[in-house]
Amino acid sequence: MKIDRDICNSCEECVQYCPMGAISMKDDVAVIDQDECVECGICLRSGACSVDAFIDEKAPWPRQLRAEFSNPTVPHHSTGLAGRGTEEVKTNEVTGRLKPGWLAFAVEFGRPVTGTRFRDVDTVAQALAKLGVTFEPANPVTFLMEDVKTGKIRKDILNEKVLSAIIECVFPREKGPAVLKALQEAVKKIDTVCSVDLADLVQPDETVPAEKMLNELGISYRINGKTNIGLGRPKFKGGN
């Protein structure tokens, strides 16, 4: 996103809308720091500019990734889905991504507020890969890995900044403690925040085994989260 300095009327209205703080006033004109801008487009969609000074042009590779990972109205070229570009376990009763005896894990880099460079995603993905996790194939970040066995992200995108990018993986339940400990170590090396998700299937007696594991590890979780009610059809064969 850019601002046409000849059209900008210096009203400063757009500055507050940028989640990355990338818009500032320079010589009485609003300018966008192109390195910090994640191309989320909220400055334009907000309607804050009364004189149509924004210039929204399709960016070439690899900058095009910024809009795909940051603008929730732009679909990912890899999965065809908008937002973070993955169904994760929201449709699990029909996809069977998460199977009995396994846990699903997600790390959402840059969320909330900070944004992320892919180099931080690379650091954590490689740490998790060493434990033999299986990265979700239908996730946009997985498409950007040179090798899903190592978790290594392709070099040409490491400096691209996006609002958020999510790594998803599954692993046998018994690996849970090792995966969480590896993440605790890996996040010490990153320059951003990440929101961490753990998904588990509800057992026939309505218990969720992951709670016991988290309690034993001393890892807290919020009182609120997502519940897949299980109303989708056709049901995945072999699910719970």
Partner: protein, 209 residues
Amino acid sequence: MTHTLHRSGTRESLSGDFVFLYMSSKGINTADSGPKFKKFLEIAQRHNPVNMGDASYGNQFAKGLDNIMGNIKKDYMTAVHAVFDNEKDAAAMLKDVKEADLGLSLVISGIFDRVKGLCQKNGIHRHAVTYSLGIWGKTNKLPPEKVLDVITMCGHGMISAARLNSVAEDVRAGRKSAEDAAKELARQCDCGVFNPSRAAKLLTALANK
């Protein structure tokens, strides 16, 4: 699209926050999904939603409900949302969606024990849960919790802390009501998962700080 997870806040505040997400699965049940999405949104309108939206199109405050309904295609890959600010409406919504038996996936975000209770009342065995293990890494970069409680209601991060502080100042100065300010923020959350009812209460507290 884990955009309805990681909403922060106290139990009291979150007790007025139920997000219903209704989604097709790519290549599995997208065929003829359009009428199911429309029916879901029609049901939602009977139960006093505080926000509705389509992740692929926009929310009711920015696009209008008629346009959201009109944009839904016959074979549609998307997630639509309806947000409720109390348990009674959420319970009635779940009952009707279950009875309609439309066949797409329903995810409810809210306090786990409340959602579990809603399911038990309706004879539903929950399929899966996703926990938020909170925020890890360089947390010193984050704004105060009271700010996060509002802006994490847009899981795609479309509401900046600066924007929130600006409308909170408008409320403090009496230039806007907390309700109007909350609806302005809701426009920015494209998917329609922002809860303006809860936000108005949080904005009032921020403005009176």
